[in-house]
Assembly symmetry: C2
Homo-oligomer: 340 residues x 2
Amino acid sequence: MQKLAFIGFGVVGQGLAEILLEKKEILNKENGFEYSVVAVSDFTKGSALDNNGLDLEKLLELAKNGKISDYPGATTGLDALETIKKTNADVVIEVSYTDIKTAEPANSHFRAALERGKHLVTTNKGPTALFFREISDLAKANKAEFRYEGTVVAGTPVINLAEMCLAGNEISEIRGILNGTTNFILTNMEKGKSYKDALKEAQELGFAEADPTADVEGFDALAKVVILAKSVMGAEINPEDVDRTGITGISLDDVKKAADAGLRWKLIGKVKREGGAVKASVKPEKVALTDPLASVGGATNALTFETDLLGPVTIVGPGAGKKETGYSLLIDLLAINMKG
Amino acid sequence: MQKLAFIGFGVVGQGLAEILLEKKEILNKENGFEYSVVAVSDFTKGSALDNNGLDLEKLLELAKNGKISDYPGATTGLDALETIKKTNADVVIEVSYTDIKTAEPANSHFRAALERGKHLVTTNKGPTALFFREISDLAKANKAEFRYEGTVVAGTPVINLAEMCLAGNEISEIRGILNGTTNFILTNMEKGKSYKDALKEAQELGFAEADPTADVEGFDALAKVVILAKSVMGAEINPEDVDRTGITGISLDDVKKAADAGLRWKLIGKVKREGGAVKASVKPEKVALTDPLASVGGATNALTFETDLLGPVTIVGPGAGKKETGYSLLIDLLAINMKG
């Protein structure tokens, strides 16, 4: 029985909660997985803690009205750090907001959980990208698991794929489409839309923020590239080491010219071992139509791992979404369960 | 320390052996994996058994001349079943030849290993396709692992992907390109070659057998579809239940017409849940160029899993090769090691 504490209970946390409720019986039967939620603390929605277990359905209901603290009989009013200190949870699910510059307050949550020997499962890019090595070391020192599948391509397996299904391979390069918004825009430009119109449509559909800078200038993909470099390739790459160009310089004419030449513009995140060094970049590239990345359209993401034993292996799947990202946390919980 | 016995020591077994030698230190360091080979028995190359361990490098050398029985100081002259009975191996690696009609003698090897509580790791399609349920039950009853990644897409993770990285999902459909030879032929027909010339080239390159029936009539893909249906989807599909059509009826003209319509012919293996039933087929289909399967050219394979939480997830990788198939056995050994 895993005892779970949610730090942050927004879209992603609720996404996991809904899956946990919906699949409770089947997860027990097919995966031998049982859970109990013992604490939830959210910056805006309040908190509830009961080390004997909370009713997850009731928590979801209260969260919808932003009133987790109304949970009857629970300890309330605890902030994230107090919650981590007082909970008897085995696993802390850190899904608070991400700050890619300071990594706070999530990094403090990470440390507080791991220092207490609690496993940490997260979708939080900030601390994972910036302090990967330190967090991994802290986890190891405290015999806790640090799992972060959802920091890269939502629940599409890339971290777990590398760890469990490509183990034993030397990976010399990882390249792929790591940002759904820019891929959606580029796919629509191929259909004849201008950059401006394609961006507008992405914003209307909720794929792009009002300020789209993080996506279109490649900062979101950059954080993911850093996580892949550090985790899968064991490289010391920091954000400032990544050669980054966004898609704002690509015109409809560029897209047409590429198509005429049998090519397709994609924003490609890449980590590559070259001699002793590892180089990382996020840049628009013209890929051949025979490349598995070429057929990846819309908001879908994809990654190709260059391996010594299998050659290139590509995985294609969703890069965002409530259920899709919530699932990334579930697969990490199941991995902890499997390892006993 | 895993003690390994090889039943069969042809291309695939030697492929694994070479990887085990080459990666001995790194597998120990990075995956905590240590091994010792205690027995090898091959139908044509002879056998050697020493429960204190054999020198794998020497075994490979002797195998090259077909003289495993020349191993100095080892017990020799044992057939496969005698080897399984006498070895103290923890894991039997069954890579003898496959018979898709009777599954023998591999099925007897499978049973002999599992009945003794030895883990079974295999690339052998025959017994895996025909007797999946019985073998799984026997493994469970004897607390042994039955692992068969290499029966479907060589070392490209599909079985392990479903088990470890897509766990918790309900999979409603699996479809993909499961035969490299036919995909190579279809890809070359798109370049303007006739079926006859494309087949000839595949034969010259060693992709296709002198008698190409198993590939071009879809029997190879059929066995893989049956394994996916039984293992990933838990369905009772047998070879005779699969609706099968090969690629021999596709003309150069068909290929051209499809291309003009923005489509591409692929031999698609499919397992689909429909209401309470599961249907399986192997058939040429025209796929849209936006389908991740469309860009999979040459001898590469690919599978798309339709999942309830992630939507479609596609994996693309090699479907054959000495190293590539040898690796499928390694990842299964590592999975056993990880589960402790």
